[in-house]
Symmetry: C2
Subunit: 196 residues, 2 copies
DNA sequence: AGGCTATCTGAACACGTGTTCAGATAAAAG
DNA sequence: CTTTTATCTGAACACGTGTTCAGATAGCCT
């Protein structure tokens, strides 16, 4: 089994992940070859197969790692007892910040789903739904408390997340707006969109 | 020059476009071969080169055709003299309907940009910006008239479009909601998000 | 009928693909 | 120092890639 005893390079695995992540995000999964990834790491293509059974599983592990980090980071912040408005604001700010910090992971997780096997696709979709359910719960809580007016919380969830994801397509740090300004603008729109 | 006189098959060009569109949307540009497209049409791969100089240009023509249809359809509907609220509502309804009617084109136009050459990429981006500018003009008109409160019309434009594009990822005709219901739900959210 | 020409075939070219594996390498364990 | 073991190399396998082009084909025009 790989990696059971320390040996020449305990950091090859992470370096493969980093190289694959960057290349997949830039050129697309199908357009990147195992030799290209290996070249970036400084090994031959065959060596990659000590770390992944095949190319598709390498992609899957990257996606799953990203989604699990997302869920863990979110769970560590959420305060289910708090005011719905506060929870929603925190969700918006968290989502924007977390995704802007990981543009490559986000890009891959949304664009390369069709390159997964059926089971792996289902696994990623399940993780994504868990994340969406977190937002939906906030919206339902706000509706129940009479603070939000949302005719269809499921659709509103998808609409809010789609809107927030859009930030990743245009935001560049050092650009016209600071991260804090972006957070404020989007929070204003979300707040108003669900307002009672 | 091709297609100057009617001959055995005046419909091969469109059939190639339709096959390429479907396959690119389903498997991705890089994962679809010219032989696969040709097979769908019922010709050999070499025959495709009577209709496109290369694979990438085939993709580009599909994208450009889609964007030009989008702009033309929008221009045919917009009424610059009308009330900003009416114009915005029409934009929302138009955008949802137009995009839901062309899921493959939309998918390709948003996912395969990185497979275009630099000039072709710039051409598509210019068309997209023209479309976005149409919405931005509506928002600015509404702000000037004191009907909307939008701190940054450029960002609001991108946010609204991102939100509306999200519909394509989940809507299925015959599902829980009718197209009219979807239009109403999204229009409510957009209206409130930009409300004065 | 005969020539013209747009279109298509089928083979070829040069190269890239994911994956496998016997043998080399070098670090850790005894 | 010797053995063990994880790791890597380098070549090979079987096949697929976009693209080109000489030659065949068949509909249109005179």
């Amino acid at each position: 089994m790989a990696r059971t005893q320390g040996s020449h390079s305990d950091i090859t695995g992470p370096r493969i992940d980093a190289a694959a992540l960057r290349l997949f995000a830039q050129f697309g999964f199908a357009a990147v070859s195992m030799r290209q990834i290996a070249g970036e790491v400084g090994v031959q293509a065959g060596a990659l197969y000590n770390y992944t059974p095949d190319k598709q599983t390498l992609l899957f592990r990257l996606m799953r790692g990203h989604m699990e980090e997302l869920l863990a980071a979110r769970a560590a912040r959420d305060a289910p007892e708090a005011d719905p408005l506060d929870r929603l604001r925190d969700f918006v700010r968290f989502h924007i910040r977390f995704h802007l910090e990981r543009p490559d992971e986000v890009f891959i997780a949304y664009m390369e789903l069709r390159n997964l096997s059926e089971e792996n696709f289902a696994a990623i979709e399940a993780l994504r739904r868990r994340y969406e359910d977190g937002l939906e719960a906030i919206l339902r809580q706000g509706v129940a408390a009479g603070r939000f007016t949302v005719p269809d919380p499921k659709i509103a969830t998808l609409a809010v997340i789609a809107m927030l994801n859009g930030v990743n397509t245009w935001y560049r740090s050092g650009g016209r707006l600071t991260l804090a300004e972006v957070e404020t603008i989007y929070w204003d729109m979300v707040r108003k969109a669900v307002a009672a």
